[in-house]
């Protein structure tokens, strides 16, 4: 599987950059005996860890194993949550360090070196920010499918990077049958134009599925045929079609958001290091011009408390920023993990609609939850009169669910004579 998409490529580059910088910082810190540098290097290490978590979740979510019947898609949500928690712990440790420095003054021996290394760290972080800033905000009108094998898939028209195409012949294959029920949100036009991009190893983006058409012949079964351009069989299994769904925040985005926030936090940390180095350098520089010892002493102490104030307040500001940006991520991933009904789905409405269907006597145990990203799973007990009745209504219920975006449904029939206790 040596295919590296945009996402994993970015993660890897950032990872290697940060890791090498960590080594540089800790070596320099050890050589110059500067605690501040060593402490900052451990911050970098935590960054590396966050990136590893992000990278691992992206890769893990594509695994297929027997034991995880739903696949490992949840990995990205778990990774996002882990990163969010990491950030909270980081906030805490920054706070502790700031308080410690308030209590005791740390002798900074070589501010110029600190400035240089801090500046380089800031540069590295800016690169990271540039790499990941697309994922910094939860896109309102855009979502990525839960599995996208590699690159970003942009649904609908309007994405500008569909221009690459390679002259591969069409090969029709029913690799993936997807039911599209939400007609009222997106016309069939857009469904047809949905492109699935696939970045190959050399970085060329090629459209994998160029056409999604509705199969007229299938009759009731609204299955959709996807025409795949020249892809091997195994890739077909992993391709999900991305439909413009403004309502659901995709898990992949969640994960990347966690990584982005971490890089942001680290950037802020480097900013603080640079600021404090500047202040110290400037203060020490000025001090040298003072001859009078009494003045010198008071000037030093004035500067020290000034420095302490600045570093402390900037640390506090940084902690506030990081915390406030992490909280929504934490909430979102937490809700998914708690098996909450996704916010855009109204369970009672759905229940009413199902009950109105002809042949449905009662609905029990309706559970709808989000696996990750676009994959919403639902299950219910339906009481019907007999098997034929059930088969008919099951179809309608499934269509109703598809309409709402719930694609994996399990509907258990309950027949009037026998009541099955599941509790």
């Amino acid at each position: 599987m040596g295919r590296y998409s945009g996402k994993t490529c970015r993660l890897l580059t950032m990872l290697s950059l940060t890791a090498s910088f960590f080594v540089v910082e800790i070596v320099v810190g050890y050589l110059t005996n500067s605690i501040a540098l060593v402490a900052d290097s451990f911050h970098m290490l935590s960054d590396v860890a966050a990136l590893i978590v992000g990278f691992a979740s992206v890769r893990i979510s594509k695994w297929q194993t027997e034991k995880n019947t739903y696949g490992w898609v949840r990995a990205e949500v778990v990774g996002a949550m882990a990163n969010a928690l990491f950030l909270v712990a980081l906030c805490f440790s920054i706070l502790v360090e700031a308080l410690k420095r308030l209590v005791t003054f740390e002798e900074v021996e070589n501010p110029k070196l600190l400035l240089i290394v801090g500046g380089m760290g800031l540069l590295v972080n800016f690169i990271g920010l540039a790499l990941f800033h697309n994922h910094g905000h939860s896109h309102g009108g855009h979502s990525h499918g839960g599995h996208s094998h590699g690159g970003h898939s942009h649904g609908g028209g309007g994405a500008t990077d569909h221009n690459h195409s390679q002259g591969h012949g069409h090969s029709h294959s029913h690799g993936h049958n997807h039911r599209h029920g939400d007609g009222d949100h997106h016309g069939n036009e857009e469904e047809k134009k949905a492109l699935v991009k696939h970045t190959s190893a050399n970085g060329v983006i090629k459209p994998v599925a160029s056409e999604i058409s509705q199969d007229e012949e299938a009759g009731d079964d609204e299955s959709v045929k996807i025409i795949i351009n020249d892809t091997s069989k195994e890739e077909l299994n992993n391709i999900d079609i991305d439909i413009d769904n403004p309502r659901v925040a995709a898990s992949a985005q969640l994960n990347m958001r966690g990584v982005f926030l971490h890089v942001l936090g680290d950037a802020l940390g480097s900013v603080i290091v640079v600021i404090s180095a500047l202040v110290i350098w400037f203060a020490e520089g000025d001090w040298r011009f003072y001859v009078d010892p009494a003045m010198r002493v008071t000037y030093i102490s004035y500067n020290l408390s000034f420095i302490a104030c600045i570093t402390f307040s900037s640390s506090m500001v940084m902690v506030m920023i990081i915390f406030s940006t992490t909280l929504p991520l934490l909430k979102e991933s937490g809700f998914i993990l708690l098996q909450t009904v996704p916010s855009h789905i109204h369970v009672s409405e759905i229940k009413e609609k199902v009950e109105k269907i002809d042949g449905v006597l009662a609905v029990h145990e309706l559970h709808i939850w989000q696996l990750a990203g676009n994959r919403i799973i639902g299950s219910a007990h339906i009481r019907c009169k007999n098997l034929q009745c059930y088969m008919k209504t099951a179809r309608e219920i499934r269509d109703l669910f598809h309409h709402e975006g719930i694609h994996s449904t399990t509907i258990q029939p309950e027949f009037t004579a026998v009541r099955i206790h599941t509790l």
């Binding site: 935590s46 995880n68 805490f92 098997l387």
Partner: protein, 339 residues
């Protein structure tokens, strides 16, 4: 609202214990902080912050044990029981952070060895902390479950008889669990706390180890003057903590990833076979089994049956088969195979 929470906390022994221990830890941390500020000892201050961090973990466990008992609502159709798994996960992660933090501090201390005199003060405080944590270990010993199947909480089942299911608003199987024939009557209230308890216990254990580490290294320094002992001990303790957290993390991550429950790994294939052998069933498709929280399993399965099959019989038999395996909530979809 507060009164309601208060009642919830104290109604169950587990959460009561956590709450009391939290108070103990919190007061100890405050005392340590004040003492450290007063004597201007950096080591004490940082240790008190470590204790505060521990308290947040305890708080998470407490919150989870309370939240897990809230009634199911429209958005939370399964109730809030997953909070327990999340708490275990959060605790596990925080423990890893603490291990990492201790390790980095130890490395820093190699660079700049701290003042030995202040170390004596730290020694006294560590001994006190050790005693406090010992209390915690005894109190939460039943939480020390390396969850292997049903082999846990042996000696302390008497504690939980008082709990009944009155506090359960949600309908997940709590009626006399029997692990496929075991004599244990695990009270589900207690069973569902096990993840939280495990996390809390591990946290206390980590704290104890930390105190032990300081005691050992201080005595080593005192008797042998071997200053390197301090960071080395810390690093050792940090690795111990990290290693001890791994089982908890694996379990909670597995549950959160909707993995097939480990406890059912060996019985499920047999169940599929038995269902497949039922009259009229052609095939078993798309089985999905996952853990909601400790010992509550949910499954969905699709059966392809013949048109003239006795669906009611098939459904009830399937339910029986899986109930024997321990899955109480099962959704069986029936599809007629085209002839």
């Amino acid at each position: 609202m507060i009164l309601f929470c208060y009642r919830l906390i104290f109604s169950e022994k587990a959460s009561r214990n956590i709450f009391l221990f939290l108070l103990l830890n919190l007061s100890f941390a405050f005392v340590e902080l004040l003492y450290g500020v007063w004597t201007n000892s950096l080591g004490l201050i940082s240790d008190s912050f470590h204790m505060f961090f521990d308290c947040t973990a305890l708080l998470a466990g407490l919150a989870a044990s309370v939240i897990a008992r809230w009634r199911a609502s429209e958005s939370f159709s399964y109730g809030y029981v997953r909070a327990e798994v999340l708490a275990g996960f959060v605790n596990g992660l925080f423990l890893m952070f603490i291990g990492f933090f201790i390790f980095s501090e130890a490395v820093e201390r190699i660079l700049e060895p701290p003042d030995i005199h202040k170390h004596e003060r730290l020694f006294i405080v560590s001994v006190l902390g050790f005693l406090v944590n010992l209390i915690g270990i005894f109190a939460f010993q039943h939480g020390h479950g390396h969850s292997h199947g049903g082999g846990r909480h042996h000696g302390h089942s008497h504690e939980s008889h008082g709990h009944s299911h009155e506090s359960h608003g949600h309908s997940h199987g709590g009626h006399g669990h029997s692990h496929g024939g075991h004599g244990h009557s695990h009270n589900s209230a207690k069973a569902s706390q096990s993840q939280i308890m495990q996390g809390v216990f591990l946290h206390i254990l980590a704290d104890t180890l930390g105190s032990v580490g300081v005691i050992i290294s201080s005595s080593l320094i005192y008797y042998f003057g071997w200053i390197m002992a301090d960071p080395i001990c810390s690093m050792f303790i940090a690795t111990l903590i990290t290693i001890s957290t791994i089982p908890l993390l694996r379990e909670s991550v597995g549950i959160l990833m909707q993995r097939t429950p480990r406890e059912l790994d060996h019985v499920l294939p047999g169940c599929y076979q038995r269902v497949g052998q039922l009259e009229g069933v052609y095939s078993v498709q798309e089985p999905h089994f996952w853990t909601l929280c400790t010992e509550v399993y949910i499954g969905t399965i699709k059966l392809e049956v013949a048109v003239n099959a006795d669906t009611r019989y098939i459904l009830s038999q399937t339910h029986n088969i899986f109930t024997q395996a321990g899955v109480r909530q099962l959704y069986v979809q029936v599809d007629t195979a085209p002839m």
